[in-house]
Symmetry: C2
Subunit: 341 residues, 2 copies
C-alpha cells in the first residue's frame, strides 16, 4: 500500500523552519556577494540591485517561489518517524514532488569570472550538503552537461539504497540569453553583459532528504528502534529533559520545577527546547525513545541525586553516552555545543 498524502506535523514544521532559515542564512546573509531577495518581482529586484551596486557586478537575487498554493492536501509526514518504520510510505514520490516552495538563488557575475565561480559553487554547495549529513559520502556532483543556449548544468545527487536523488541543480548561463538594454554593466571603461549562475532546490526535496539522510535504526534489546540523526543545527529541538521516575511525588515535583527553570534559561538563549512536564510518568528508556525519534541531539537527565549534588547527565543521542555536568554550568556548556557547525 502507498500512502498518497502525508502531512507535516508540528515537529516537521519546525524542521521546515530550520531548513528554510539555514538556506536563507547561507544564501543571503553569509555570502561574499551581496544577495537581494525578490518577492515575486525578479525584474524589479534586478533593477534595484543594479542601481544600488552602481552598475557593477557581481550581485545576486534569491527567490522563494511558491509554485502552487500549499493546502492540507499535498503536505508531508506527521510526527515523522512514527510511520517511517512501517514500509508503506513511498518516499520516492515525495522526493520529486515540486508542489511546494522552490528556493532559487541567481548570482550575476562578469563573463570572465563566471566559469571559476561556477566551479567554486559546485564545491561550496557539495560541502553544504555534506556538512549537515549523517553520511557525507552520500553526496556527489555529476559531470557538467552542456545544454543548448550556452547553458551548462550539474546536479548534486544524494545516493540512497533505492535510488540516487537529485537534491540541487546548478546552472551556468552565458552568452546572448541575458543581453538586453537592462543587462549593460560597467567593467572599468568597458560595457559588459552579465553571466549568471543559478542554484535551484525544492523545499520538499530538502525536507525529505533531511529526514531520509538522518534516519537510522539502532538495536535495542533485540528490537529495532528508529532514530533521526539530524545535524544539531537542523534539529527541530536542540535539547529535551528526562526525569527519572519512581521517586517520591514531592521529589518528582522538585525535579520538574528544576527542568522548567532550565528550560526557561535555554529558551532565553534561543535554544529550541522541548519540555514535557509529565514525562516522568514514563520510564527513562521510553522517554529517550520518544526524543530519539524526534532527532533531539541532547537530553538532560535529572534524578533524585541531582537535588543533592547538583549534577545532571547530558545524554548524547548518537552515542547514547552520558556525561556529568553541574546545573550551574549546563546552559553555557550546551550553548557552546550548538555554537559551531
Amino acid at each position: 500500500m502507498k500512502i498518497e498524502q502525508l502531512k507535516v506535523g508540528p515537529v516537521g514544521y519546525l524542521l521546515l523552519h530550520q531548513l528554510r532559515n539555514e538556506w536563507f542564512n547561507h544564501m543571503i546573509i553569509n555570502k561574499e556577494t551581496s544577495v537581494f531577495i525578490s518577492d515575486n518581482d525578479f525584474e524589479g529586484t534586478f533593477q534595484f540591485a543594479k542601481r544600488l551596486c552602481l552598475d557593477r557586478l557581481p550581485f545576486g537575487i534569491a527567490e522563494i517561489i511558491q509554485n502552487k498554493r500549499i493546502s492540507n492536501e499535498n503536505l508531508i509526514l506527521e510526527h515523522y518517524v512514527e510511520r517511517m518504520n512501517s514500509n508503506d510510505i513511498d518516499f520516492e514520490a515525495y522526493f520529486g514532488n515540486e508542489d511546494s516552495l522552490t528556493l532559487k538563488c541567481t548570482i550575476f557575475t562578469t563573463p570572465t569570472n563566471s566559469v571559476p565561480f561556477f566551479h567554486q559553487w559546485q564545491r561550496d554547495r557539495r560541502i553544504w550538503w555534506r556538512k549537515f549529513s549523517a553520511s557525507p559520502g552520500r553526496y556527489s556532483v555529476t559531470d557538467i552537461k552542456t545544454e543548448t543556449n550556452n547553458t551548462q548544468t550539474v546536479q548534486i545527487r544524494a545516493n540512497y539504497p533505492w535510488k540516487s536523488h537529485i537534491v540541487e541543480t546548478l546552472a551556468l548561463h552565458t552568452g546572448p540569453k541575458y543581453v538586453s538594454e537592462a543587462d549593460k554593466f560597467k567593467d572599468g571603461k568597458k560595457t559588459i553583459p552579465s553571466s549568471s549562475i543559478i542554484s535551484t532546490i525544492h523545499l520538499n526535496t530538502l525536507f525529505m532528504n533531511t529526514i531520509c539522510d538522518a534516519y537510522d535504526e539502532s538495536e535495542y534489546k533485540g528490537n529495532k528502534r528508529a532514530l533521526l540523526r539530524f545535524h544539531r543545527k537542523l534539529a527541530p529541538y536542540s535539547i529535551s529533559f528526562a526525569i527519572a521516575s519512581g521517586g517520591v511525588a514531592a521529589i518528582v515535583q522538585e525535579l520538574n520545577d528544576l527542568a522548567l527553570h532550565l528550560t526557561e534559561q535555554f529558551r532565553t538563549n534561543h535554544l529550541s527546547t522541548l519540555f514535557l512536564p509529565r514525562s516522568s510518568k514514563l520510564s527513562l528508556e521510553a522517554q529517550w525513545r520518544q526524543y530519539d525519534e524526534m532527532g533531539i541531539p541532547y537530553n538532560v537527565v535529572l534524578n533524585e541525586r541531582t537535588l543533592k549534588d547538583g549534577l545532571v547527565h547530558l545524554r548524547n543521542r548518537d552515542t547514547t553516552l552520558k556525561e556529568q555536568v553541574h546545573v550551574s554550568e549546563l546552559v553555557a556548556y550546551v550553548e557552546q555545543l550548538f555554537k559551531n557547525y
Copy 2:
C-alpha cells in the same frame, strides 16, 4: 493622490523576514510554555500536543495563517523610505490591511490559571512592542472588554499623530466554548476543561507599524532627511561600509578589498551586512544618507589613514557619533553590540 498598491522591495522583504523570525523566536522558542506549530491543522496539532503532554495543561499552538494568496497586487512599499517623504502614501489603509499573513498564538491553560496568565500576557506583550520601539511610550493596552460567550479581549494600540492603531489583540476564552470530549484534561485526580488565551497579529500591521514607528526626520544643512530608527534586532541590515572617496585609485581599491574582507567576517558571524563595492563613488554624506534611509544601525568608515594605523570609525545611525575601533577588534566588538536586546 493615494497610491493604492505598494510593493515590498528587497530591503522590505528582509525586514519582513526579521519580523517573522522575531515573532517565531518569542512565541515558539522563547516561552515558558511549550508551543507547537500548526500548519493548517489546528485540531491535529491540538491532539498531538495533548498526547505529548500526557493530557496536562498548559501548552500552546502557534499558527501562521495565509488569509489570501499573496500576489504582486496587494503588497507594500518598495525601497521603503524613498517614497515616505512624499505625502502621497495612505499608511492608514495599509495598517488595517488583513490580506497577508496572520500570526496567531493560542495558549491552553487550566481555568484557575487563565486569568493571571491573561494579565501576565498583557504585560509581556506590551513590553515586547515597547522593546523594539523608537518611542516606547507609543504603546498602550486598552481596558478589558467583555464580549459574549465568556470572552474577554484587550487591544494593544500604537498611538500616532494621525490615529491610534490596533497592533495586537489578546483574548481570553473561558467556559463552555471549548468543552467537548477532546477538551478533557487531567489536574491531579480531577478532569478539567481548558481555558485559552489568544494573541493575534497581522503581519502587514506589524510591518507597517515597524516602519512608521522607526520613521524620523533629521535636519541636515537646512534640509530634512529621512531616517529609520529600527531596533538593531529588526534592522534588515546590521552594518554597512562607507569608503572615503577622493583617494588615489589604488588606495580606494585597497580599502574596498578590506571592506570585502570585513564583510565576509561579519557574515560568517551571521551579521546581515550590506557591502556595495562602488560606494566610494559617492560622498560620505551621500553614502550615510542611503544607509540611514535603510535604517542600518552602524556604518564602518574606512579612509586612507585606516591603511596606516588600522583604525576605522564606527558611525552610529541614531547619534551620528563615530567611535574609533581597530580593525582587528571590529568584528568581535560589533557582535557584542548586537548580542542583547
